[in-house]
């Protein structure tokens, strides 16, 4: 592609024009759907509409954590520490979650490491139903929990529980690049059997004198907090810290970084679903597209409230029938006034005319 572009730029331009024209014509003649169908039917992995990956293998990491080794058709590349959206279908519903990539960029495959969360629809489905040979859909890798361009001389990779997944990618990358000059890898786990990547950490620790692996086990020593952290890592102030873990753990160690904020990088896994406020409580509605934020009383339907706030929205029947006011809810809790059903899943479609806010919301409007 590059050689074409440099030797004859007009050829590339014509090729891209021809491609765009073909796409436009096929859409106008409604041939795009049949085309996608036949690609999907005959060569599912060749889809260009979405990035598909084949599951190569599923590896048990601990009693409740598995690593899924994925082979995407093409891979745009990622930086260690980034995450990737993965989409699966559970009982007919496509669900999307973001998981940190646990493999380093030099790995030929993409690995994600998933802890089975009690009641978690996606993680449970992946643990029980996703097998080698299956397909999943991937989004583009993203995230800024990555090492700076110049690798810091002294590092602390600090993780709790499944927060180890982006940090193991960083560690693996450093090991591959032989850049483990002075790295402390501190991992907090509930017990010895919950330690992620234990044997690999032991192997890397033995192999690289610049790597110090510290395990903190909640059932053997007091809970990891700021004081404990200073004891385990006395030279904390001299280190660039990458922190990822459950909210409780991150909050507990946070005081240790007072004054060191500039050297702290952290990634928060949002696991808790937003709790519903009492009916009638005011709510803050973020409109993702127009970047507007609106405070509502929480008593009227979203359609009424947003209209009162001056939004001009598409609507039809105003009684939950016609689907004209359908809108994607990125986050938050709404109640369907017809059925009383609560929607607290991210990326759920709601009808504004029959939904009332039960928490702050982000809507695609």
């Amino acid at each position: 592609m590059n050689t074409i572009a440099t030797s004859a730029p007009h050829v590339a331009r014509i090729a891209s024009f021809a491609l765009r024209t073909t796409q436009r014509v096929s859409r106008a003649l409604l041939l795009d759907r049949p085309f996608r169908f036949w690609v999907n039917e005959l060569a599912p992995v060749a889809s260009r509409v979405e990035l598909r990956a084949r599951v190569l293998s599923v590896v048990d990491v601990t009693h409740d954590v598995k690593t899924f080794v994925l082979a995407p058709r093409v891979w745009p590349g990622h930086l260690p520490g980034q995450w990737v959206p993965i989409e699966i279908e559970v009982d007919g519903i496509r669900l999307r979650r973001c998981y940190s990539i646990s493999s380093p960029p030099n790995d030929p495959h993409v690995e994600i490491t998933v802890k089975r969360v009690p009641g978690g629809r996606v993680s449970n489905w992946m643990h029980t139903r996703l097998h080698a040979g299956d397909f999943v859909r991937l989004g583009a890798p993203s995230g800024d929990f990555v090492l700076p361009a110049a690798t810091p001389a002294k590092l602390l990779l600090l993780s709790g529980g499944s927060g180890a997944t982006p940090l193991i990618a960083i560690l693996r990358d450093l090991a591959h690049r032989r850049a483990l000059e002075d790295v402390t890898y501190l991992h907090a786990a509930r017990s010895r059997r919950d330690v992620l990547f234990a044997s690999e950490l032991a192997r890397l620790g033995a192999l690289h004198p610049g790597l110090r692996v510290v395990l903190h086990l909640d059932d053997e020593s007091p809970r990891l907090d700021a004081t404990q952290l200073w004891v385990l890592v006395p030279d904390l102030a001299h280190r660039e810290t990458f922190l990822c873990g459950p909210t409780g753990m991150m909050d507990a160690v946070a005081p240790a970084f007072v004054g060191l904020e500039g050297r702290l990088h952290h990634e928060r896994f949002v696991v808790a679903k937003p709790a519903a406020a009492a009916p009638g409580a005011g709510a803050l509605i973020h409109l993702g597209r127009s970047k507007r934020s609106i405070t509502t009383t929480g008593r009227g339907t979203l359609l009424d409230e947003l209209e009162q706030a001056g939004e001009r929205l598409e609507y039809g029947c105003r009684m939950g029938i016609c689907n004209t006011c359908r809108c994607a809810k990125r986050s938050g809790v709404v109640e369907n006034v017809l059925t009383g059903a609560i929607s607290n899943e991210p990326d759920d479609d709601i009808r504004l005319c029959v939904s009332i806010a039960r928490s702050d919301l982000t809507l695609v409007l």
């Binding site: 041939l31 007919g92 016609c322 059925t339």
Partner: protein, 357 residues
């Protein structure tokens, strides 16, 4: 014969249907997705087979088979897939291929116009004279409650013509041409409404009668004729099914003042009394896009249509308990009834006793 319900009974009636709806919602899942994807697969294979037979064959047998297979594909695509997907029945799957807002169907009606006049107007103001423009589509007199005019004398012929050109009728319905003729809609607005329809129609004509015939080279006339027949098959079928849904005898027409501030239960009642079902087997239901269950479709237009036959007996039982009629009959009986309505209403109303509701 419908028993007049007290306000209390109307509320109870509405609540029973609400809870039925919730029950079905709770069961929604893999089975519905498998069903619609299965229909999509059948449709695509039928379409491919039809095109292949039309394009490469030279004999009349492959021509008939090809046209038929393509017609079947168009029926499935428009009715069970397009109509139902565009109602948002599968939006909950988050599958972009089943997304109601972005789906466009293989026929002359522009999808976004249909979503407006059908999903909103027709499904909200069902059978309200003056509000639901689907009552006779503005040019057919399907009930004696519509005023008669001399043009209605030829409506039996107009209806037959509409059957063969049904996709164009559905597309042109968005124009509100009758409003412009009556002076209720400025010409500029007619033009605004006409543009998406003309664009979509032109693209469809190009596809069916230039693009695909062109691909067949020497076989072009055969392919063009096959496409015309396939479109015709779909048109007549859709016309027959849809006319049986709202125009048989016994379907009630409403006036705006009687539906003002109607509670949800009364809204449900209007959907039931304004619709009629067709009895048949599973294949018939799928080919009709489950519009053979027009009553269930009008009660819950956003539930996956493949569920209608499952809970229809329960809707009927609820109606019986409340003394409400439930209009259903064989395809032949409903068609005959529709034909009679069109013929009888072509002439000015005789003095007839007021209908019992």
């Amino acid at each position: 014969m419908n028993r007049v319900l007290t306000p209390h009974e109307i509320d109870a009636f509405g609540r029973e249907l609400d809870s039925l709806r919730q029950e079905v919602l709770n069961q929604r899942g893999q089975r519905d997705v498998d069903h619609i994807r299965g229909v999509v697969r059948t449709m695509r294979y039928s379409e491919a087979a039809g095109r292949l037979l039309l394009h490469v064959g030279i004999d009349p047998v492959t021509f008939a088979l090809g046209s038929g297979a393509l017609g079947l594909a168009k029926i499935l695509e428009n009715m069970e897939i397009g109509h139902n997907v565009m109602h948002g029945q599968y939006d909950w799957t988050h599958d972009p291929e089943l997304d109601g807002e972005t789906y466009d169907w293989d026929m002359a009606c522009a999808a976004h116009q249909w979503r407006e006049y059908h999903n909103f107007e027709h499904h909200t103001f069902t059978n309200i004279l003056g509000r639901d423009r689907d009552v006779g589509y503005g040019f057919l007199r399907v009930t004696s409650e519509q005023p008669w005019n001399p043009a209605h004398i030829i409506q039996p012929f107009v209806a037959v013509g509409l059957a063969f050109l049904f996709q164009w009728g559905i597309g042109a319905h968005a124009l509100r041409l009758d409003d412009t003729i009556a002076g209720r809609q400025p010409v500029a607005e007619l033009w605004t409404r006409a543009r998406p329809f003309l664009a979509k129609g032109a693209r469809q004509l190009f596809k069916d009668y230039v693009f695909f015939p062109g691909l067949a080279l020497a076989n072009a006339p055969r392919v063009a004729l096959g496409n015309l027949i396939a479109n015709g098959i779909r048109n007549v079928w859709a016309f027959a099914v849809i006319f049986c849904g709202h125009f048989p005898e016994g379907v009630r027409i409403y006036h705006e003042q009687e539906t003002r501030d109607e509670p949800r239960g009364a809204w449900y009642l209007r959907q039931i009394h304004g619709s009629a079902n067709i009895e048949g087997g599973r294949l018939f239901h799928v080919l009709s896009g489950h519009l053979s269950h027009q009553i269930e479709h009008h009660l819950f237009p956003d539930l996956p249509a493949c569920r209608y036959p499952e809970f229809a007996p329960r809707v009927r039982a609820i109606c019986e308990r409340y003394g409400q009629s439930y209009n259903t009959g064989s395809f032949r009986a409903q068609l005959t009834s529709v034909a009679r309505q069109i013929l009888e209403n072509a002439l000015p109303s005789r003095a007839r006793p007021a209908r019992m509701h």
